[in-house]
Amino acid sequence: MTVEQRRKLENLTALVLSTLAAAFGLFWLIFILGDVLVHGIGALNADLFLSDPAPPGIEGGGLRNAFVGQIMITFFATLIGVPIGVLGGTFLAEYARGTRFARIISVLSDIMVSVPSIVIGTFIYALLVRPLGHFSGWAGSIALAVIMIPVVLRTTEDMLSLVPWTLREAAFALGAPYYKVIMKVVYRGAATGILTGVLLSIARVAGETAPLLFTSFNNNFFSWDMNGPVASLTVTVFQYAMGPFEEWHTQAWAASLLITLFILAITILGRAIIKWRYRS
């Protein structure tokens, strides 16, 4: 074999291997999504959304409690986490721009984004559940908010930094105080970016199970009461999939399908917005 041939062969092997790697990745995506789709679609029915769980052995029943619970927990988590994240990001990108302090917080947030979510669950249990004497939807929302804050904070910081400094200078020249410049000029310029960050952070927490196990716990009944245990789809999937009953498995697949679709839809929406807005 000549050097030429060897080089070509080596090149071909490497390219084939890399193609196979991509195929391998795609294979899992299609396998998992396809499996969830096939099992989940067959399990969808109106009862799933309209009725509450029936005990094992009794026909029918649905997951209305878990749908509503999941929405409540995520909603309040967003309500708590997003303002703190956006304001914190504002501080880093505006008032503290370029300072060492901002750098440190930024790095710490990046680390917090990947910290094990189950640890957050134990933290909130010790902080809110045990001292207050009951599991609660609030504890669940706050646990999710703690996960959201660094995500939103970092995207906000990045998005605000993308707004050209000259725009702010123009506003300063008109005599506007900084907070007005931020509200009227910077936020406006970065609105879509911040929204995307919020969307992606919702996608991040909506599928979380581990931090809810010890905080919002679970509830077999429909409940609006955020002061008590609240059902969530993810915890229900954990309970049902681990259980031995066929009806539970079917409902777990249906719930999985809906969670997955919801999260993928938000993720794709977020990506689409980024692409559309920040096409450079």
Binding site: P55, N219, D225, N227, G228, P244
Partner: protein
């Protein structure tokens, strides 16, 4: 601080809204052993009275922990707490229903009730001393069965469990080797096997793993269509787990309300007694009078109306005399 503040703020905004919808609610958690019957009772109780009794199956250890930490309205445990422990955590305890722990196996081709096990064989399997299904000890009790030369996969509980407590109490009583090497408790250091979460998890793993053996509450074995085994009881006969053998074991029980009904039902002497029977208990926080009254109302209702449901799920309702003993106990504790 931030978070707490924000939470408090949002709470104050939403609370009025939430309380409008608040129906009567009770939160209980604990043993997975009686979960099928409690949730069935709660389902009917909700239809009858509108009260929502949310019972979560998290294991008996969890039931004891969460009621001791006062994070739930009542706890449930299959392992009775000793009067000393109850006193320490300021708890009350009473039995709610009786059931049986059943060995379940997954051997392709083997029907429910075909496999017979005596205590020492059973114990050796869980100790890991018997590794294959066609071991001489297993074959001795089952001369007619074709047992495969396959490794046994032991499935046990991963969580703090009253089912485990009853099960290991039985093994410790009947098998000296178990008592000295492993001991009894809601969670033990298992010599071998894989751990499933809750009765649900064990049933699921046994169902999905060929040549496995596990132990679950009978209702789980039945509802998830697993093959149970027969066991040799104290009087020497091989018995099937069913309503009759559980009742027979329950008959021998002499519950004492002075000791908060602390009693084990394993290895009962009756000829037809199932050897791993057990009562399952409710734990109340002594100082929470109002909540306790509501909880007790539920169980009083279940004692009156729930026997059929319990029987359908193969739990033994408490005998009438014991029910009255429990009611008297409630009264004596000022509930």
């Amino acid at each position: 601080m931030q978070i707490l503040l924000a939470a408090a703020l949002t709470a104050s905004l939403v609370l009025p809204f939430a309380t409008v919808h608040a129906a009567e609610k009770l939160n209980g958690a604990g043993a997975s052993f009686p979960y099928p019957v409690y949730s069935a009772w709660a389902y009917s109780y909700n239809k009858a009275t509108g009260v929502r009794l949310n019972y979560q199956s998290i294991g008996s250890g969890g039931g004891q922990r969460q009621i001791s930490a006062r994070t739930v309205d009542f706890g449930a445990s299959d392992a009775p707490l000793t009067p000393a422990k109850l006193k320490k955590h300021n708890l009350l305890q009473f039995p709610a229903v009786i059931g049986g722990v059943t060995p379940v196996v997954n051997i392709p081709g083997l029907q429910a009730g075909q496999l017979k096990l005596d205590a020492s064989t059973f114990c050796s399997i869980f100790l890991g001393k018997i590794a294959y299904w066609d071991d001489a000890m297993v074959r001795k009790a089952n001369p007619a069965l074709q047992l495969p030369h396959k490794k046994i996969t032991v499935v046990h509980r991963s969580d703090g469990s009253g089912t485990t407590a009853i099960f290991t109490h039985y093994l410790s009583e009947t098998c000296p080797a178990w008592k000295t090497t492993v001991g009894e408790g809601k969670a033990v250091q298992w010599p071998k096997g894989i751990g499933g979460k809750g009765n649900e998890g064990v049933a699921n793993y046994v169902k999905r793993t060929k040549y496995s053996i596990g132990y679950v509450e009978y209702a789980y074995a039945k509802q998830s269509k697993l093959a149970h085994t027969r066991l040799r009881n104290r009087s020497g006969s091989f018995v099937e787990p069913n309503f009759e053998t559980f009742s027979d074991a329950a008959k021998t029980a002499n519950f004492n309300s002075k000791r908060h009904f602390h009693l084990w039902l394993t290895n009962a002497p009756g000829k037809k007694s199932w050897p791993i029977a057990g009562a399952t208990f409710i734990l109340l926080a002594k100082e929470k009078k109002v909540v306790n009254r509501k909880t007790v109302q539920f169980f009083d209702w279940a004692f009156k109306n729930g026997d059929k449901t319990a029987q359908r799920l193969v739990y033994i309702p408490l005998p009438a005399a014991l029910k009255n003993k429990v009611r008297a106990y409630w009264k004596s504790q000022g509930i």
